[in-house]
Symmetry: C2
Subunit: 294 residues, 2 copies
């Protein structure tokens, strides 16, 4: 199906998510002009080489001029500067959305900078791989995954409807929720798992170099799944953890208590506690398979 939801889309940030969205638009909305904006010259070169945008620029204000949709898809720490630079150049009635993983921080950074003549629809397509950069994108990235929109009380319903249609075009299931709730849910389903994976891979790399090569060789026993997650973009994840600080710290507290309880069971040879715990965790896997998210 080909449609045209927008005339001109500015993608501020063209990494895994931005470039995947560009590919979706190329495929399903050929009438839409795409402008890609990135800070680094190599990234812009890659965009041109890949042919995923009609224009490529390092100037956010130039990118958004005349666009009826602006998608902010950079690490969270760049939001404030981007907001300041694009605000004066935004077209009347344009929709600004973003794809950041922490919605409270995204709203705090962008909302105060955007003029009232544009619509802001904070969003988070929950999809990704451990790869980053425009080369790693693909249109099918979003297929059957969830996109969470977190409109504020000021967001116009028509703008939410258009962003909903955009992500549905990409194959996503779209829901809305309050930003604060989103950040709590994602802390569990995404942020804590990433921090734990980063931790364990770091622990393993400090074990001395002779053991390290064996850790690599025998990683198939479970470790390699963690290394995949711990290969995710360092800047993006630094920003996520700092932006979702409160939810992270509370969850880390719970996690540490639980780990200490299992550690205690191992020390005491308490097999019943371990067995009961492991049986319970097995059940949640079944729920995920039933929800078709496996």
């Amino acid at each position: 199906m080909t449609v045209k939801l927008f005339d001109r889309v500015a993608l501020i940030g063209i990494g895994l998510i931005g470039s995947s969205l560009a590919r979706v638009l190329r495929r399903d909305s050929p009438g839409t002009a795409i402008v890609a904006c990135a800070r680094r010259a190599e990234t812009l070169d890659a965009v041109r080489r890949l042919g995923i945008a009609d224009e490529a620029t390092d100037n956010p204000a130039a990118a958004v001029a005349g666009a009826d949709l602006v998608v902010v898809a950079t690490p969270l720490s760049a939001y404030a500067e981007i907001g300041a630079r694009i605000a004066p150049a935004l077209a009347d009635g344009a929709i600004v959305t973003d794809v950041g993983s922490v919605k409270g921080a995204a709203i705090q950074a962008l909302q105060p900078l955007l003029p009232s003549r544009v619509h802001f629809v904070p969003g988070h397509p929950v999809a990704g791989t451990e790869h980053s950069g425009p080369e790693s994108g693909f249109a099918e990235l979003f297929r059957d995954r969830w996109c969470i929109l977190t409109p504020t009380p000021e967001t116009a319903p028509e703008a939410v409807a258009k962003i909903t249609a955009l992500w549905q075009l990409a194959g996503m299931r779209v829901v809305t929720m309050v930003a604060e709730h989103h950040d709590k849910v994602l802390a569990v389903t995404s942020h804590l798992p990433h921090l734990i994976a980063y931790t364990i891979v770091g622990t393993a790399t400090e074990l001395g170099s002779d053991l390290q090569s064996e850790v690599v060789a025998y990683s198939a026993g479970g470790f390699r799944d963690f290394t995949r997650i711990a290969a995710s973009d360092p800047v993006m994840w630094r920003d996520i953890f700092l932006a979702n600080r409160e939810a992270m710290l509370e969850l880390l507290q719970r996690f540490s208590e639980d780990l200490t309880a299992l550690q205690r069971a191992i020390r005491r040879g308490d097999g019943d506690t371990l067995h009961e715990w492991f049986t319970r965790t097995r059940a949640i896997r079944r729920s995920i398979i039933e929800a078709k998210q496996a």
Copy 2:
């Protein structure tokens, strides 16, 4: 290629590993008779239905009678009883091997019970999925993975050579190392990752039921990889953690220190520490990809 390394193989325990090995023998060594031994009637029924063994019995002594190879492939906590039951029935010159994930404990449990007229080759094919039971096995499970043999000073080199050939038939790369060293390496590459995955999935399931359904829905952001690992067999993993207690407790100590350091960085807004850590962990993923274990 079809060969015949053994005339009669007794598989004591016919879960994921045992049944996968049976499928390898069926495919590549059709002249070998296979006897499967399991405690539960359902398991024996499944073996008969699947046609992966020539005989199926719940009696370990009967299973090993006349076998020139015995493979112990049960959870570690069953080893002592199995050793006691099979010892009197083992044929002269038979080779006994096992597939347990903790070699120190495997040797401690079996070695004292086995008569000197048989050869004991402790082994660990490092391969698996989160599924268990005879239905979940497949011959390709072992392809290109490592198998670690941990012969004791008493193990005859010819017996090691025959077990090496067996796992090579299954497509594995075979190495030998000292049992204690194996247990340290596997604590990092497999046992700690499993315990952490069990912990985090347990932490998430205790968050209250309304949040829980959302955790399932939005699990694609990283959590689902942990749920896969945390769906592994509860009895097998209970036994592994208890059997590799010392190595686990030492590693857990290191892991907790590292997690506390990252938690402290999040609390203080110390982005540099986080970024430096995440950049380092990214590198090890590349090593794993280069080692073709990804």
